[in-house]
Amino acid sequence: MNDFSPFSPGRLHEIHAAGVDCAAAFGFSVAAAAGVSEKPVLLVAPDFGRSEAGTPSGAGLHEYGLDPDRFIFAAARNETQALQAGLEGARCKGLGAVVIELWRGASGYDLTASRRLALAAETSGATIFVAALDTPPAPSAAQTRWRVAPALSRALAAQAPGAPAFHLRLERDRSGLSGQTFDVEWNRALRCFISRASRAGAAAAPLSGFVDALSAGRTAPPAQSFSEPFARTG
């Protein structure tokens, strides 16, 4: 397993975003979740999230570069059920990752709930992503906490929206290195996040010379590469 991926497997990772940026948080979480292993991924969303921001779509996942057949979608009625279902998933060795979507000051997701998830993840080896929308950060047992916002994409021909771009901020990391920000875009063909700074510099040969540290693939980047390829903007 890739030691230098920012998402250490078998841990709990929180992804925070504003409610309007739900799709960005979702896109970032599923890409990260699909990247940590080759195993199936469980998506859990409460009905509120589905009515607010839509239902995950198989065609969308496919267009995003992921295999929809790898995903299991659990439609929970409310937040409590979503956490319960997420915990069931976290206890399962057969799953590679679990993405749990929580909305609006998720009150059931407290230190105890996050510890429970983190413990289950450590035992089973599944990686847990909690996408917390419109939720103020609270003490939790998460390994990392990210804040995600969409970024303006590089336009394609005729001002068409380009590849999904994100503005990431690593707010907290138990293994050090927090407070960095990254501007990345998702490359659906390579299935990894690419730093936009390196991408812009290597326009002629886009694949050479950059290292995808936020790799969602399984290739292990060199040890020093984690912080290097990203332009520090913050």
């Binding site: 839509g54 929970a76 069931e88 999904p164």
Partner: protein
């Protein structure tokens, strides 16, 4: 208002069905009348049928007022057919019901004996001979005609050549007669299909301990698992029936994602289901029987034992899915399915989870996904300002927030599938990005200058 049904005491006073209520009141002033409730009768009969399933799994409704039990091979479990009938009769009397029961080789003869023969146990068609012709239940006209011909009993009819009867009263009457005389047999249609495998436990004394339910269910499952293992099968759908001594039957259904035989996993699902029941499994006056039926089975190969005794990841995953299904329900644990269509509403959908390999269409060239990660169903109307009537949106308002469009691509024109819905307007889809980088999928419904309706804008999805 007329009398539909009358109690025994009312019959004794001469109040018979068909009499008007006013007449009845005139004959017996203190008569108590309740409105006729056929739906309620139906429900009661259905509950009674569920209760009767403790005697045999094959119970059919014989509407409006009868139940038909196929007790082939069940009699010895209750100490013989007569004992079974007496147990059943005593139980029904305890419920305050008056019932007549008869046992016969064919359903038709059993019914006739119950209604016209005072309830008897018949070994063959000879028992039908003494019954009146009304037992044919062929209609008032036929009965009258037969009586006028001097034919009073079924025995009289049995002596005549059947072609004469057929010529006079039709083939139905002859067939009915053959069934009464056990020359022709029919099957009943049970309320529930016969389970693939069934194990049950009857208690001589009502079973009162709620805590000990698991101690009864687990051995039942082990027993069922043995049967299934011998057949090389595993259960996909289980049903546990708890027969309470006061006649209530509680049924707990357990569905699994993959064939299941392991008692331990089954008990975990059962616990989840039982704690979720809105109305807990209350023994009340006690259960007198608990039955486990395996309704659906699938072939299940012998599990390979791992050398380290660990659990296979795949098995672990099916168990996790079963627990999710038990928690959320089958319709909420889903996988994505691909459909071969251009209609974005139908191109991809969700269906109860199973392992799939969908035929997802190949990507179009380019960096950007053409379909949104989240689909808003149904599409939401949004206020859009466009610079040209048929151009891309310039700004729009969604959930009270104004989004200024920075990038847009389109239109991608999607015509409705005319063979499904001829009236659906054409949609022009735009991929749109606002100044903050949020990406949306909007469409304009209808065409300018062609459709009479005012085109409207809808939000159909969100891109990452």
């Amino acid at each position: 208002m007329r009398i539909v049904a009358a109690s025994r005491a009312a019959h004794a006073c001469g109040l018979t069905p068909g009499l008007t209520l006013a007449d009845a009141r005139a004959r017996a002033g203190d008569v108590e009348a309740l409105p006729h409730d056929p739906k309620g009768d139906e429900r009661a009969l259905d509950l009674l049928a569920a209760w009767c399933e403790r005697f045999t799994p094959l119970v059919a409704l014989d509407a409006p007022l009868g139940l038909m039990l196929d007790i082939t091979g069940c009699g010895h479990l209750f100490g013989g057919e007569e004992a079974l009938r007496d147990t059943l009769g005593a139980a029904l009397r305890r419920f305050g019901l008056s019932a007549r029961a008869a046992i016969a080789p064919t359903p038709d003869l059993a019914r006739a004996l119950a209604r016209f023969g005072g309830g008897a146990i018949a070994q063959d068609g000879a028992a039908a001979h003494a019954l009146p012709v009304a037992a044919l239940e062929a209609g008032e006209h036929t009965h009258l005609a037969l009586q006028r011909a001097g034919l009073k009993t079924i025995g009289d009819l049995a002596e005549r050549p059947s072609h004469i009867l057929t010529a006079r009263f039709g083939a139905d009457t002859t067939r009915k007669l053959a069934r009464l005389l056990c020359c022709e047999d029919t099957r009943i249609t049970p309320r529930r299909p016969l389970p693939e495998c069934m194990v049950e436990r009857h208690f001589p004394e009502p079973f009162l301990h709620q805590q000990a339910i698991e101690a009864v269910v687990a051995p039942l499952m082990t027993q069922a698992a043995d049967i299934l293992e011998r057949r090389g099968q595993g259960g996909r759908l289980f049903s546990l029936s708890f027969f309470r001594s006061d006649g209530v039957v509680r049924v707990v259904r357990i569905e699994t994602a993959a064939p299941l035989r392991a008692t331990e996993n089954f008990m975990r699902l059962f616990r989840l289901k039982a704690e979720k029941l809105a109305d807990p499994l209350d023994p009340g006056f006690g259960f007198d029987a608990i039955r486990l039926s395996v309704i659906a089975v699938e072939t299940m190969p012998e599990a390979e034992q791992r050398l380290d005794g660990g659990v296979d990841a795949q098995t672990d995953m099916t168990a996790a899915i079963d627990r999710l299904v038990a928690r959320l329900g089958r319709e909420r644990v889903l996988s994505f399915i691909a459909r071969d269509t251009h209609d974005p509403d139908r191109a991809s959908g969700l269906a109860p989870y199973e392992k799939r390999a969908g035929a997802w269409p190949a990507h179009e060239e380019g960096d950007a996904p053409a379909r949104p990660l989240r689909m808003i169903e149904p599409p939401l109307p949004v206020d859009v300002v466009a610079l040209a009537p048929d151009g891309p949106p310039a700004q729009f308002r969604w959930r009270r927030a104004l989004h200024i469009v920075a990038r847009a691509e389109g239109p991608e024109r999607v015509a409705p599938e005319w063979w499904r819905n001829a009236d659906a307007p054409t949609r022009d889809y735009y991929r749109v990005e606002d100044a903050q980088g949020r990406r949306f999928w909007l469409f304009r419904e209808g065409l300018y200058e062609r459709d009479s309706m005012q085109p409207r804008w809808m939000l159909h999805g969100l891109f990452a």
